[in-house]
Amino acid sequence: MKIIGSGSALPKQVVTNDDLCKILDTSDEWIVTHTGISSRRILKDETVYELGALAAKRALEEANADAESVDLMICSNVISDYVTPAPGCFIAGALGYTGQTLDINGACTGFLKALDAADSAIRAGKARRVLIIAAEQPSALCDWTDRSSCILFGDGAGAVLLEDSGEGECLSTVLRTEFNAEFLNVEMPANNNPFSERKGEGRWLQMNGQEVYRFAVSSCVSDLNEAAQKAGVALESVDWFLLHQANQRILNAARTRLHLPKEKFPGNIAACGNTSSACIPLLIDEMRKDGRLRDGQTIALSAFGAGLTHGAAVLRL
């Protein structure tokens, strides 16, 4: 399974920490030291569907491929403007694609889940080309008067086009579920159904920062070790570690525990924030375009998020 194309799309609107200080009691210094984030992009008048379609178009263009040549399109998204039709359908419409779409609400682990599904489809011979689009708008999940959460997130879309060709291979994946709704959730409001006893206004993103940090650091370390062992590679031999960009301190803590050099842990959190499942494909695209990612390298991915779900993958490019 080879990455033959990748694309990114970020909203035009940049929201800096100083912009946030105008609406929240916080500071640039606090946000940077606690999270590593300096600015993020927030969708203003574009839609997350347009973002996803643009990232997808760029991935297809790089590979000189038409949308019709794609056998399976997997879309990873937690929230968008419509519950139904699913985001994959909107993006398919924009691309003129009429094949199979598979939509995943996998939270921040969504891209890894999509990658695993793509690998399975290719290995089963059911698809030769799979387009994965992670188009996320976590800014729509937050209470923007709650400084503990809204500062963390940014909107963005990343896409990768995978093909059953070349030397590239997904060497291993690890994907786990440890149900816990208390530490990280977004609750829907009840409607006016008189036959249901379910009531409530719903609540925007609720997160226990300390528990989520603990979960993220420990699962990242455990998953990377397990994925490397399954792949038959030593972690020390991995060229790059692309971790879900939830918080710079989580990344630093995981890296320290793994005794691995800082240089192998690239990131985009400073200018993007936490873009949920789009973090990793955005990073993949950035690194492919600037030449850091090259054929023949071995890379490890790790993600963790609501569910709680987590996982890792080792790829040979």
Binding site: H34, G209, Q210, E211, Y213, R214, V217, S218, N247, R249
Partner: protein, 73 residues
């Protein structure tokens, strides 16, 4: 002794002199923020074993030492 080990772990983490850490020192006084607290608790768990529940009642170094000692007993 538990206190000495705990103080050394905090000192190493914050890059400060262990001698400046007293049982009554609060995390706030030591410049330990909410995520530092989790990091330290994970280090204490690695060192002493067991699981330490995060709680707003854990305010001072003595609170942590008492919890660890109770678990070891």
């Amino acid at each position: 002794m538990t206190f000495e080990k705990v103080a050394q772990i905090i000192a190493d983490y914050k890059d400060i002199d262990a001698a400046s850490i007293k049982p009554e020192s609060t995390f706030a006084e030591l410049g330990v923020d909410s995520l530092d607290t989790v990091e330290l608790i994970m280090s204490f768990e690695d060192t002493f074993g067991g699981t330490i529940e995060m709680s707003p009642d854990l305010k001072t170094v003595a609170d942590i030492v008492a919890l660890i000692d109770a678990q070891q007993a």
